[in-house]
Symmetry: C2
DNA sequence: GTCTATACTACGATAGAC
DNA sequence: GTCTATCGTAGTATAGAC
């Protein structure tokens, strides 16, 4: 119970303040326990940080099960069906990026991208890799003329469109003239991302 | 001279470690001076941080003059010409994101996006706003059927594609199987971004 | 398992000599 | 302008009581 409270608090603090910015004193205090509980349950600050990375990985796996399944199911799906599935996966990621629950995770991950630590390895091999494989499998069948490196580049730039919702959140809010992204702004951006993705994925083959 | 060295060092340290992670002791040491020089020249740690934001703003203005000019020149340019100019602007941003020089700036900005401080205000009104206006002016003429909010959403998602080069750098490197993004990977990603952007911008009107 | 108490290090700011 | 010296605070880790 103390362990769970500590993890929850740590996720919030590490997300908002980063590894250095967060303090074990404050995490323990906000969890209603003492600093030495962190040593007991997680071995120290770093162990707590890695436990957060593991927890984030599991939460994303739950929410992005569709993308992970896609890697296995892509070979047996038709082209039209795959396109729709892929657009749904991109929208799932966009929804996750928009949702308030993911704020701490997103900050955590964006920090790790700038200066990867052991936690990034947990995140990448724990969930990102499989999600990318799913997206790439779908793209490979939708656009069979593309080379493997092009498929990869396409998958990454598609993700970029949704990444902007978190990685440039402050700019998005300022550009749209709002303090926080609400339902309306979320719908506008998701719709635009869907339109863009459709144009990108069918641009070379349909007309 | 001491002032310049301090600014340069601070840019690197704040970029890599964030405001909390960086220490004035280390910045002074690496600049070959003493902590109290920071107080003398910048008033303190926060003043030094804001001076970094101002410096980044000026550097980006220099490198993205094309985007800033676009806002003024868009009305007098033809549709085909505007499309090419816009693709060039996007490529300029991509080049900046790929270039090693921008690593510290990018980290600095990405951090500010997660937890905006006064420094974000400097960055946004100092350069981001004008760049967005340029891109929106071009999109507005290329796709005259779009509403103003759609134009804005389109501008933001277009930027997302290049943002991925910095904000998800670690994932991009892992996905491409390299330790650092070299010439080859940069060319691949820039080419993909250009293809995507072209499909997005002409998707609704040409076929 | 969880607490208090403490050891040790590093932080930013400031005073005052030069 | 730049230095040294120092103050007060806050960081993590650890020892030992319960």
């Amino acid at each position: 119970m103390t362990q769970e409270r500590l993890l929850e608090t740590a996720l919030d603090q590490f997300g908002r303040l980063g590894f250095d910015g967060a303090s074990t004193r404050e995490i323990a205090r906000a969890s209603g326990t003492s600093m030495s509980s962190i040593t007991y349950h997680f071995g120290g600050k770093e162990g707590l940080y890695l436990a957060c990375a593991h927890h984030i990985t599991e939460q994303i796996r739950l929410r992005q099960a569709g993308a992970i399944r896609l890697a296995r199911e892509a070979p047996s799906l038709g082209r039209e069906e795959l396109l729709e599935r892929l657009l749904a996966v991109i929208d799932d990621v966009a929804l996750m990026m928009l949702h308030e629950d993911s704020a701490a995770w997103s900050c955590f991950i964006v920090r790790e991208q700038q200066q990867p630590t052991q936690a990034f390895e947990l995140l990448y091999s724990g969930v990102m890799e499989e999600m990318l494989e799913g997206v790439e499998a779908a793209i490979g069948r939708i656009r069979p003329e593309l080379a493997s490196r092009e498929i990869r580049a396409l998958a990454l730039t598609l993700f970029g469109q949704v990444l902007v919702l978190r990685a440039a959140r402050a700019t998005v809010c300022r550009a749209l003239g709002v303090a926080r992204l609400g339902e309306e702004e979320g719908a506008l951006l998701r719709s635009q991302i869907r339109t863009n993705s459709l144009a990108i994925l069918t641009g070379g083959t349909q007309s």
